[in-house]
Each structure stands twice: as structure tokens, then as C-alpha cells.
Assembly symmetry: C3
Homo-oligomer: 155 residues x 3
């Protein structure tokens, strides 16, 4: 049994950390520079397929979007683990960039992205508090409803 | 009277630094990591309401957009003050991410964002010189015409 | 003849590094903070004009978009040289933000941005491996098909 506090917390929340998703192009999924880790754009992968696709406000409900952004955050945590070695070395989630694939007039980006933010807060506690950017995107790669980038500070 | 050079400069420019706007979701408005400060997406709040809403090229003139981006920058400075303690500790504005809510065919993102850039240059002088990203967004949270993120280096 | 390994590699690839493009507003094209360099949004300039304009999926083929993103990356390398002094001081390309100006239903952002990623990998080898963000933009400044931001770590 792991001694990692963060992994125990994931277990309490019923979350199995997946294999970190591979890149979908000529790049890497996560990198460390100094004490900072930054992920590539994370999508709502469940194993080999996107759990959701389409646009918020057109094809998907806010609840589905929120679940998609939560999945992106889980995949981002899997990436952080690769780069940090141990999730307990994460001192702070620094920044979440949240891009929401949406149709005309959509305004509920914050509710969609709270799926990711709430999860990061639940998993990392005080260390999960992060800044956030919420933007609408008209056409997203792979028709994904959300793309999420996570920046973290590590020891 | 404050000894802060930057706050004196704000006063000369006739700018009252507002209370830093709160987050509109499960995140924090500003964070420090190492010598870097990064804000969440700043909107053109004046107290409890957005001073402008709608899309550039459809609902708002470039002048209104420029004024909105200037307001975003003032709010960002209020956030920097929280994180830095004293604005004189800002060594450099590093990066401005400028997102412009706009309608079909709009091309004047640079003019809109110069409202923010000119203000940062006026307030911080040589230390205000920053890199910039200018992007159009089709659907923005809260129907805000501009969203601005500011990165700064502090002592 | 330069001793720079990276510049020799550029020569082998048949690339003449251009003058680094100027900013198109009240900002600077590149900045260094600590060991990080970040560029402003790079466009596919060839001397004084954009080599491509318009939207992917509407006005331009994926091949043209890929060539445009490769040009953005070459301009970004010219900016990195200014900030680093010598390109051999680049320890790692950290992050590429790729924004693709595109029409309805476009999904080939990754292929377009591989033009930039492949070039960075070819020029910097192992040090060119980077994280990436790929997003669609409905209206881009100057009608540019691609905007690229590059983050690098230097010695």
C-alpha cells in the first residue's frame, strides 16, 4: 500500500488514476522546467476513446461538460505523477487553462470548468487552489468538448 | 502617503486601484510560484458589474474594447498588489494574454489590447514591457468583451 | 563559421534564420524571466508580409497550414536567439501554444501544428521535445492562419 497522501485521497474519492494519455502529435504530454510542471492539452480520454465529444450548448449539457472537464483533470493528475514521480511532491496547482468547445451564445464556461477545479481542490486540498482561465473555442481538435492544461509547482 | 513609486504613478494617472475582483468559480484570482505571479482571467469589472459586455465588431467599438482591456489591466494590477505585497517589488511584467470576444471578420485585436498594454507601460515604465498574445474568442464567459491574464516577475 | 551546434543544424536543414519579427502593438516580441524565455504570438512572416492568410478548412489546405506553422516556429527560433544570445544555451523547448485560424468543422489542428513541432524537434533534437496546446480560433489578428507561442528553458 502506498504511503502517498494524495494517492490515498484519490482512492477515497473512488478515482483510479489511468495510464497518462499519449500525445496526439509530435510533442510530449508533460514536461518539467525548474520547479514547474506543465501538461500538454488534456482531453477527456477514457482509455482509448474520448468519453464525450461535441459542443457545449449544442450537443452536450453543462453536466456532461463538467464531467468531461473532471476527466481532463484526472488525466492531468496522471501526467503530473509521471513528471513529479510522487504526487506528494506537488506543492501547488498553479494554473488551469480551461478551453470549452461551445456553440453560439454559450456562457456557462465557469460551471463546466468547475468539474475540473472542484476535483483538483478535493484531491490536493489547500495545495489544489489554482488560478484559472476560461475561454470558449469554436472548433476543437478531435471534436473534444474540453481541453485542459494544468501547471503545478513541485519540490 | 505611500512611498510606493508605482502607486504614486497610478495616482498621477488618476487611477484608483479597486478591490481585486473575486474569482467567478472554484479557483483563486492570483497565485505566486517562485518569482512569478500569474493572475486568473481578468474581466472589465467596475465594482460589482462588468463595465462592458458583448462582442467587438458587433456590439462594441474598438474604443470601447480598448477601454475594457484597460480596465482588465487595472484589475490585474490590483491582483498583482495582493500577490506581491508592494507593487514596487514587480521587476517585470512578463506576459499579457489578451482574449478578445469578437464577431465575424474582426481584425483589430491589437488596437483593443493596446488599451491594456499602454496602461501597463505607463504604470511600470521600462518594467512594464511585456510579451503579448492576441486571440479572438467567439463565446466568452459572462459575455465579457475582453479577458486578460497578466504574468509578472517579482523580487 | 559559427561554432553553434544549433545554427549548424539550421544550416543543414537549409534554414536561414530571419530577422526576428517586430511586435504589432505596444509590447515586445520576446522576454526572459529567470531561466525561462517566452515569445509573443509569432505569425508566419516572411520579411514584411505574412506568407499565408485566411482560415484552415476554408481558405487554406492542411499542407499550407503546416507550412505556416513551420514559418511561425522559425520566427520563434529567431526570437529565442535574441533572448538567449546563443541558441546552444537553450536547454529545452518547454511549451508550444498553437492557435489555428479555422472555419466550421475543422479538426486537423494537430497536423497543422506538426509543421512547427517537427521543425523544433529537427533543430533541437532531444532538447526540442515540448508540450503542446492546440486550439481553434475563429477570428485571428491580421487574418493569420496560425499564431504560435514558444516557451524555452535556458542555461
Amino acid at each position: 500500500m502506498t504511503k502517498s497522501l494524495v494517492e490515498n485521497r484519490l482512492r477515497e474519492l473512488g478515482i483510479d488514476l489511468p495510464e497518462p494519455p499519449k500525445a496526439v502529435g509530435a510533442y510530449v504530454p508533460v514536461i518539467r522546467t525548474g520547479n514547474l510542471i506543465v501538461t500538454s492539452g488534456q482531453l477527456p480520454w477514457k482509455k482509448d476513446r474520448l468519453a464525450f465529444s461535441g459542443k457545449l450548448g449544442t450537443d452536450l449539457t453543462v453536466e456532461q461538460g463538467s464531467e468531461a472537464s473532471r476527466l481532463c483533470a484526472i488525466n492531468a493528475i496522471a501526467q503530473l505523477k509521471v513528471a513529479a514521480g510522487d504526487l506528494d511532491r506537488v506543492r501547488q496547482i498553479v494554473r488551469v487553462e480551461g478551453y470549452v468547445h461551445c456553440g453560439p451564445g454559450f456562457r456557462e464556461h465557469p460551471q463546466v470548468l468547475n468539474g475540473a477545479s472542484d476535483l483538483l481542490n478535493a484531491v490536493f486540498g489547500e495545495r489544489g487552489r489554482h488560478t484559472r482561465t476560461a475561454l470558449g473555442i469554436h472548433e476543437m481538435p478531435l471534436d473534444s468538448p474540453v481541453q485542459l492544461i494544468v501547471w503545478a509547482e513541485v519540490e
